[in-house]
Assembly symmetry: D3
Homo-oligomer: 131 residues x 6
């Protein structure tokens, strides 16, 4: 299986209002380094999994509504705990929608995505699934 | 599939007494940066794969008997070559036992583990398997 | 000149309420990977710049009041823009006070400190100065 | 599953002569950090996936014809777009041939390879497949 | 002393036509990860060394004429060996000119620059000097 | 000032036999990623600080007596605590001797060296001084 992975980052604030989160219950924040991997069984006649420019643009578009935001005030996250793993899945769904809509001009080659969020130098999470 | 991965490290001495190991036959040592990845099909009502605090504690506990040790003197490694890949598997088994015992309070969500040991800036090994 | 550098991290929220900060004016956040370097002209009879355990503890103590905090609510930062470079200087001052007070048992060897905050995979800041 | 991964790098020039590649159509170049992962179901009596020295040598040999080259002048790449993903697959095939020929003395343990090329701090590609 | 450092990258081809360069004499290439550090004695009333957006833009502008280029065809490099250290100095001069011209709106605070080029995972070069 | 820095690594065992070292008193070990930086005021007619091949070879030669060794058995370290900072200074002295002897063919350009040892993902030390 082939893959191409591109990187971007976001800087967000959020709270995790449950005793489960101990010291992270209150308002705090994170820099998430975000990797998006696009997986295919083959490459096209130009030797591409996906156009890396389109992939980078798609990732930037998916991250735009989160960039420099307080996630507690993002309507679609109301009532959700915006954990790193939750955000991996959210970004996965946003990217999958764009891939399915043909926005990456991949002619249906992309079969699988993995979205990785690095929250610190000692912890990260990812979600990987079929398109 | 979801995953959360946490990082710790150990600094150990050991020998690898077989001609197979060439210059590494004698007593030498390594810093192993250790990544433990916990994989699940779903996240819980708090948006968690596993509690990252419990995961970090479990990794520290699994590594405690190895920390600052001469592995040649650890009784359970007698007669074993404590290669990087062997240690990945050893740490995997120790962690799997803890997960199975419910120590991560994951309610059975964790299905798979991957233990990665980085031995230098140019080499690493891992073991991945089902719980 | 000798140096020893240790690493920790904090995850904070803050706003930067001036048009100068463009998209970062509102409430957002950051993971800061924090490196503290201790510099001396010589090492002691044990071959040490500073005891790395004491250095790590001192860094953890200096970061404790910031960990998982909304910096907008930290009284001593009232009226300040808590930029990465401002925080480097703040942490420098806190650490310098501890070094001067002999908390690192360095017998006056530490002459200089550098505090580096990595705010993302593409940007970092530092403050370096004499004790 | 067990894996051992070793790292090397190459510095090459090439062009990507199609409008698809936008600013990368003309002669430019890349440093590719190359990771080769060898995967097995078990380790041998010495605790090895593969001999890391043999793996490192094999990677160096596979990369030798590319090192400091203009890929536009490498005969076997004539008419090909030498994209990062294409090169991952090319290096995979070269390494698979060596593994199948027994050059890694792995007694048939290696079942799968993954070749990763990091082209910058924000993009990488890989090809993974069975031997 | 305060510093802010931002990162970008370029992918270039070049040759180094002298026997001194051994295997790197012919046409080959490199990805250079480029770090630009801006150093000041103080921060302004907004807590800034320099506006990180302006710094990032300035670095992108300085790198634009090199991006995806064959340096052998860049007129101003005619007769020069475009080594990593030469390019560090070239980029330093370009950036210093922009800082002196007030393009970073730093009100004269920036006293010193350091330009670092990482050419591989095992080698890098830098040039540091006063503005 | 110009600099070129090259990287290698060693894997060693040692003990630090004093209560000062707490859990690290007994036999343990480390992977040290070693960076050697060579600093000059100018580059030569080929655009070089130093020949990177000669620099890499010199570092490998300096590290050879330490590679895969138990430092407790290295005669010249008898009665010494082989801390990370001590080893930085030791490697500095070995390299300085080679530079002074003209082994890097630098025609006296190299004025200063810095030797950095990374002992883990959270700690490193360095020694920097004039030749």
């Amino acid at each position: 299986m082939f893959a191409v992975e591109v990187r971007d980052h976001i800087m967000i604030a959020h709270s995790l209002p449950s005793p489960v989160f101990g010291p992270a219950q209150g308002m705090h924040g994170a820099t998430f380094t975000v990797d998006a991997a696009f997986m295919t069984e083959s490459i096209d006649q130009h030797g591409l999994v996906v156009d890396i420019g389109l992939a980078t643009d798609a990732l930037a578009q998916v991250l735009a509504p989160l960039r420099y935001k307080n996630l507690d005030e993002v309507p679609e996250f109301e009532g959700k705990f915006t954990t790193t793993e939750f955000l991996c899945h959210h970004i996965f769904e946003q990217m999958a929608t764009r891939v399915r809509a043909g926005q990456l001009s991949d002619a249906g080659r992309v079969l699988r995505l993995r979205i990785t969020l690095h929250e610190s130098h000692t912890a990260r999470a990812w979600y990987e699934g079929d398109i």
